[in-house]
């Protein structure tokens, strides 16, 4: 009996001495991932999740602790996203939030960031309203609307077949669409590019039948159309333009990069879409090529720009936590300002001036894909690379 008690007490003491240390050493750093996994942009949200997951897996640990991603579906609705963000911070104890596809959703979370009090890094929100919005709000991902406009305008001006066209502007009717449309029109007018409808058409995001809009474009006599559409809608619009016999007659310039799976579905009808983007898998650098193969091997889906800039954004966040040395919100935010990551599309640096990234980008046009490891039949061919300085905004 005495022996039994002695052994039991020894075991209990051993557990008390060693277990807490073990728990602290392995307690993960939780990062809240907010992406749309249902609704109109579910595919894009899934690709963003893939990019962030891949970054977390490759990074492995921060501050000697494993990274734990807690993923929530925003359903691309602002109220839902804010509720999920609160759950991630208050219930799941996430030290930072990352992701978000829609500008409307991103701005809604930014509005609540004082209450949430964690750094929020978006990898897809493109609205220019994010520049210097809040000390805890950051962007490291998709080009902002002004950067896209600069890229597209410069691309148009460099092409004799494009610069004399008259452009009809249609946008999706929400924050990002309006911002993107306005940016393009203002810059186009300043550069002598003709715009047919300066008050641009605004289509509901639920629009499936584009025939009325296509009839308007035909009626206008415009020979170019600038679209600010959610990525997976772009091939649908392009296909219906092709159905109406307008492919090749009216040039489509897009503010957002079309999703690769949607391009595959649209096929030849999606050839000829022109636009500026962070990246395409046609970017032929060793770092990009290696990333593409790792992504393909892991997820067996064509690497997309939604995935790659979420990957890069996540790496910036993880590295900032390392740099901060702890998970304090202000320390991470301070570390994020000025941080940079060298990835598939070069150096991506978060500006200390406005918390938004500066990086090189590419001008692309969709066409038949060359032989590639992904079996893709349509791709975004890189026509030109823009430097970060060219795209701005100036710091």
């Amino acid at each position: 009996m005495k022996r039994f008690i002695t052994i039991s007490l020894s075991l209990m003491i051993a557990v008390l001495l060693f277990a807490p240390q073990q728990v602290f050493a392995e307690k993960p750093v939780k990062i809240g991932v907010l992406v749309p996994l249902t609704g109109i942009v579910a595919q894009g949200g899934l690709e963003m999740k893939y990019g962030i997951e891949m970054a977390a897996e490759e990074k492995g640990t921060v501050l000697g602790r494993p990274i734990e991603l807690v993923v929530e579906d925003t359903q691309i609705k602002a109220p839902v996203a804010v509720t999920k963000a609160e759950k991630l911070v208050y219930k799941d104890d996430c030290k930072a939030l990352i992701g978000v596809f829609s500008s409307g959703v991103g701005l809604a979370i930014a509005k609540n960031i004082d209450k949430l009090n964690v750094p929020f890094l978006t990898t897809h929100v493109m609205t220019t309203a994010l520049y210097g919005l809040h000390p805890l709000v950051f962007r490291s991902g998709q080009l902002a609307n002004d950067q896209t406009a600069v890229g597209n305008i410069n691309g148009i001006l460099a092409r004799p077949d494009l610069k004399d066209k008259t452009y009809y502007v249609i946008v999706h009717d929400y924050a990002w669409g309006h911002d993107g449309g306005k940016r393009f029109i203002d810059l186009a007018k300043a550069n002598g590019i003709k715009i047919f409808n300066e008050d641009y058409d605004k289509a509901p995001t639920s629009t499936k039948d584009w025939s009325s809009y296509i009839s308007k474009i035909k009626a206008s006599g415009a020979d170019g159309v600038y679209i600010v559409f959610i990525t997976n809608v772009i091939p649908t619009f392009a296909k219906q333009m092709s159905d109406f016999g307008l492919q090749g007659k009216i040039k489509i310039i897009s503010a957002a990069a079309p999703g690769p799976l949607e391009l595959e579905a649209g096929g030849e009808a999606c050839y000829g879409i022109f636009g500026a983007s962070d990246w395409s898998w046609d970017v032929n650098t060793p770092v990009s090529d290696a990333w593409e193969l790792r992504f393909w091997n892991k997820f067996k889906t064509i690497p997309s720009d939604a995935a790659v800039h979420s990957y890069v954004g996540a790496m910036n966040l993880f590295n900032a936590i390392e740099k901060a040395g702890n998970t304090d919100a202000k320390a991470i935010a301070d570390a994020l300002r000025g941080i940079s990551y060298d990835g598939p599309y070069g150096n991506v640096r978060i500006s200390a001036k406005d918390n938004c990234m500066r990086n090189d980008a590419v001008l692309t046009e969709t066409m038949a894909a060359p032989e590639n490891p992904f079996g893709a039949k349509v791709y975004m061919k890189v026509l030109k690379t823009f430097t970060a300085a060219e795209l701005g905004p100036a710091e």
Binding site: A42, Q43, P204, S206, D209, K218, S220, N232, G245, A265
Partner: protein
């Protein structure tokens, strides 16, 4: 709006625009009509408000896409896909609807609402989130010149398909014994039952017929726009607007309402883009304010 710059093009340009708008309206009206007719058949004959009707429309579209993608001819898929949806409808009717038929309509409303989520979930599980496009036969691709405009051949073909389907449906309901029984069952079900006709089979037939119409609409509408997991929910709302404006259970009302909504929506999208859908719903509110039972009243299955 500036149309064309040179005088010699003005007539062709304006006429072309009118033709474009008219044909777009008719195509949109036609798709609304086929879906709404199916919903009305089910309600008119069984007093079941099938909230899963939009999901069945999506199943028809995806089934058609899969059949064509595996190499089947589009016209063969146009026949097989609705049959598949009809079979799904039969299963639903036997397992979910029939046991609840004698209860309040609320039960079937809730059950079919749940069915909608189930079918939408199954669609995403099987086909994923990415949009799909049905590959049409070569002779249906391209455009054809009509009165100053170039119009897609498939959209014109759609009008013929829809006219043929509606004609076939009218013939079936008016000239066949089964059709006459279905129509009689909507107004005097007791008399039909007294004549020795099993009303369970009548209700089953009506439900399956409605589902077949949803499947037909799906495979016809699929190549017009895009096939994606959200298409069912969006079409359900539009078809409800049509049947409410036309009059619940009224087939003629559905025809008038579908044409009205199709033209109003297309014209609104063309001229007042920002407020197009607002105008449609204002129209519905105005009609219902003056005619609460819809244009042709409720319950007249004719």
């Amino acid at each position: 709006m500036q149309i064309h710059r040179t005088g010699k093009h003005i007539m062709g340009g304006t006429l072309g625009i009118i033709v474009d708008i008219s044909l777009n309206s008719l195509v949109l009206s036609g798709v609304f009509l086929i879906v709404a007719i199916g919903l009305n058949i089910i309600y008119g004959l069984s007093r079941i408000m099938n909230m899963g009707h939009g999901a069945l429309y999506a199943v028809g579209a995806y089934t058609g896409y899969t059949l064509v993608a595996t190499g089947l001819n589009y016209f063969a898929a146009l026949i097989i896909a609705p049959i598949v949806v009809g079979a799904v409808g039969l299963l639903i009717e036997r397992t979910i609807i029939a046991p609840m038929r004698k209860r309040s309509m609320v039960y079937t409303l809730i059950l079919t609402y749940g069915l909608m989520f189930f079918l939408d979930g199954m669609i995403k599980y099987v086909w994923g989130n990415k949009p799909c496009f049905i590959d049409l036969p070569a002779f249906l691709k391209g455009t054809i010149p009509i009165l100053g405009t170039q119009y897609p051949i498939f959209r014109l073909a759609t009008l013929f398909f829809i006219a043929a389907i509606m004609g076939g449906l009218m013939l079936f309901l008016n000239k066949t014994k089964v059709g006459i029984i279905l129509r009689a069952s909507s107004t005097i079900p007791e008399m039909v039952s007294c004549l020795g006709i099993n009303m369970n089979y009548v209700h089953m037939g009506a439900f399956v017929l409605g589902c077949i119409m949803a499947g037909v609409a799906g495979i016809i509408a699929g190549p017009l726009t895009t096939i994606d997991p959200l298409m069912g929910g969006e079409m359900l709302i539009s078809s409800f607007v049509v049947i409410v404006i036309g009059g619940l259970g009224s087939l003629r009302g559905a025809v008038i309402a579908a044409i009205l909504i199709g033209f109003v929506q297309t014209l609104a999208e063309f001229f007042i883009t920002d407020l197009a859908m607002v105008i449609v719903y204002i129209l519905m509110a105005v009609i219902l304010a003056f005619m609460p039972r819809g244009l042709l009243g409720e319950g007249k299955f004719e």
